[in-house]
Subunit: 502 residues, 2 copies
């Protein structure tokens, strides 16, 4: 296995698969002697892991093959993954699991408070065109008094474990396009298989990798939402990007939806929906003549998903329909960073949750979150930028600002005195444990120092009268190269991983 001159990472976050090149330095270290693994054993693990991935559908489209995001079955490569599970304290894992149903409920409650969403995002609206367009649709729905009786949330709450404080701190709550329910389950299976096969030399117990049923529970939630919609001839529509190299993650979900629940999926881009969709007077959404029961978004979360007015028209039309939206525009907005920061303010959680224990649990996982009109914090961040992260409303971890750039950006914003400060929030910098890790990409094993982020999936479904499903649904562990120039906890460059309860 030769070392390439530069490495290609997949930025795996909320269904987006971006290409970013990083320098080779981080991976040119010898691959052996992590976890006391000798190079011969490592070679066997690597080989077996690659074979396992190929035979079990742990795949993505290869960026080097042009059709790989369009046509299934061509240009496939194993998904990037960590060779072994990452050690994670059992207590923190349980804490994260317990939080899932609470966050499910919180997101639903927040989504119902239209005024809270509009008011909290009013300054963001002025400086962020994308959020502004979402708010416009939201306003229209408020005006016509649109009610979502059947509400489906397929969420993922992401956490890091701060090494110094030993606190589990939330990074973000994804309310749209929570990706990797399919591939994350496979990585757990892969790791269990390797631990079983190499029981003696590794000395690890595969039973300490928690079971992961994200894909079957998400499929179940979609199926139940489909049942609630109550039109046996209607289908589930996956809203997808025109090219999607992470398509196999999505195909796993639709395959299980079909096999276990006999519910058919169609896949459409926003542009295709604009072309083919029609809204019947009773609210039924037809796409290509086919009634849609549930709209499941795996696109539409980023400005680049709306290159023209067509896509916005499609989004509005879907929102006006009676189809179950996963997510509705309200759910989408409830997952914005600004709302996350608003919820962290004193006495805000209390507006949405009654149970004091629940409130305490949620608050405990909030890291420090501030808007830029908090002058004391801004002053502190200018003085000690290494303890802060600046996050723009814009989705995608690659846009975060770290280190000295925090100071520079804050000073520039103070000088310019525009409204641009409303486009950012400040967040406490989390310092997770850095662990030497074997990262597999493109058939090559790299040893590197890495940090991990734990996502817990949650599914929430209710109708007018009852909560039908409110469950924790398994996990996504992502392990990221911790390159010093990106400041410790660089976002984005990740491989799929699982966790080993310690």
């Amino acid at each position: 296995m030769s070392q390439p001159s530069s490495l290609s990472f997949l930025a795996v976050k909320c269904g987006r698969v971006e290409e970013i090149k990083t320098q080779e330095e981080n991976s040119s270290k010898p691959m052996s002697h992590v976890h006391g693994i000798d190079s011969e054993l490592l070679q066997r693990l690597v080989n077996d892991a690659l074979i396992w991935s190929s035979l079990h559908g742990l795949l993505v489209g290869d960026k080097n093959v042009q059709r790989s995001g369009k046509v299934p079955g061509v240009g496939m490569v194993h998904a990037p993954f960590a060779l072994l599970p990452i050690s994670f304290p059992e207590s923190h894992w349980r804490q994260a699991c317990e939080l899932a149903p609470i966050f499910n409920e919180l997101a639903d409650r927040v989504s119902l408070d239209g005024n809270f969403l509009q008011h909290s995002l009013s300054r963001t609206k002025k400086v962020d065109v994308f959020t502004s367009r979402l708010l416009d649709i939201h306003s229209k729905m408020l005006e016509i008094g649109k009610k979502e009786d059947i509400r489906l949330g397929l969420l993922r709450s992401d956490y890091m474990l701060d090494e110094k404080t030993k606190l589990l701190l939330q990074i973000e709550l994804n309310t749209i396009s929570s990706s990797f329910p399919g591939l994350s389950c496979l990585v757990s299976d892969l790791h269990r298989s390797l631990l079983n096969q190499y029981k003696e030399p590794l000395g690890l117990d595969s039973r300490r990798i928690p079971g992961n049923s994200a894909v079957s529970q998400f499929a179940e939630a979609l199926a139940k939402a489909w049942t609630e919609y109550n039109n046996p001839r209607a289908v589930v529509m996956f809203v997808v990007q025109p090219a999607e190299r992470n398509m196999y993650d999505q195909h796993w979900l639709s395959t299980i939806l079909k096999e276990r629940h006999d519910v058919t999926t169609i896949r459409k881009t926003l542009a295709e929906i604009d072309e083919q969709a029609e809204l019947l007077p009773d609210g039924t959404l037809l796409v290509g003549g086919q009634a849609i029961a549930v709209i499941y978004f795996r696109a539409g979360y980023a400005p680049t998903d709306y290159p023209s007015e067509s896509e916005w028209k499609a989004r509005l039309l879907m929102e006006q329909s009676s189809a179950v939206k996963c997510p509705s525009i309200s759910y989408h907005l409830a997952g914005t960073k600004k709302i996350q920061q608003e919820l962290a303010k004193p006495n805000v959680l209390e507006r949405f949750l009654e149970n004091k224990d629940d409130i305490a649990k949620v608050r405990k996982c909030f890291s420090g979150l501030w808007s830029l009109d908090d002058s004391i914090i801004v002053k502190d961040a200018i003085e000690k930028p290494e303890f802060y992260v600046m996050k723009p409303q814009r989705e995608g971890g690659g846009n975060n600002i770290y280190g000295d750039d925090v100071r520079k950006t804050l000073l520039r914003l103070q000088e310019e005195r525009t409204e641009e400060d409303a486009a950012y929030i400040l967040m406490q910098r989390i310092f997770p444990t850095i662990t030497p890790t074997f990262l597999m990409r493109d058939g090559i094993c790299h040893k590197d120092h890495a940090v991990s982020e734990l996502g817990i999936y949650g599914a929430y479904l209710r109708n007018k009268d009852n909560v039908i499903m409110n469950e924790e649904c398994g996990y996504l562990m992502r392990t990221k190269v911790s390159s010093s120039n990106e400041g410790g906890v660089a976002a984005g460059f990740a491989v799929l991983d699982s966790l080993y309860l310690a």
Copy 2:
């Protein structure tokens, strides 16, 4: 789905995956209206089949990706397959299955008759360097009185159904490197899945696709041979080509061998074996210090597998060892075309089989087979070349001679009066039914006229005292484009298929 300017086929035969370009004309017909399938249904079938293949490991290495034959998990593409199973008469299917244990036994008996092998191949030896080298090893084993007490055959007998005579006729008996036990099972599963999912529009019954357990039965046979060898620390060695784009077929076999039987596989090329192998005085074969219980050849069947003396040294060393060889040199020779032709002569089968029913069954599936010293047949073939195929001893269907070339070659050989005629046999030309078929390659569906070849796997294992296993083990259906310029039954260019019992 666009039509490419030229098509790339995979010549799938005994583990070899070759690239051959053919002209576009055959595939530029519209894809609809075969089996009464409209283009929308076809599109859905194609898409679902491609997704199924990706998620279930029905894969090969992509010839366009350099590392795809070396590193698992990179440069993958779905294996070429027929979209739907081919109709096949149940009676002929049963006939082929019944023949499997008889051919298993026949191959074993023939392998034991060293003089028969040497004598039958004596003229071939003079003109075919490859067969000559095999015979040299065989002679050495005869000289030292080498006995194979544990004998393992993983065979595949290939047939075509002659349309006019309605006879099931044998094409060849593969005694080395019978490929596709893994992928052939997956194609049956794929077709069953499609027939179930599209039950109503297709109107086909998935239960009419016979179950295919080739891979699990081959794994079982390898495991039982490993048990017979009786060294718990020894492993099974797959002898592989340095680059093998059909590696996933092999990986399925080793995965099941490990998962169900806890038997470990190592993979070595002939060159690596020459470098790393050592023969202990007791006959134990060590490769890289590891004792080998069973040698399973997925390379070594073609002259190109022996580019230097190293590979021949490796083959000889293995043959001298006590490891179970699948196949031994005797089994390998028993599968040559010349032996096939010798067995078809009057009273030859009777030397190896006692049961008259068995002999009659075997003889019934023999097509006309003649050596070139049969002057009456040669005269007839010159006059009516369209009814004959000339087959060189050289492995690989691509070397066969059809049509007017038969006449030209025979006339040239008569004129030259060399020994070269011994390098060929003449075989009755079989004319199977030509069916319009959807062939999937590289993500693209082509409609074309195709013929099919049915392979029946067989596993045979015995020790000094007893037959341990003698079973029919499932099937490989291959469907080939029938292009007129290659003369009806062109060999080689195939997609994987399954059969639908009619």
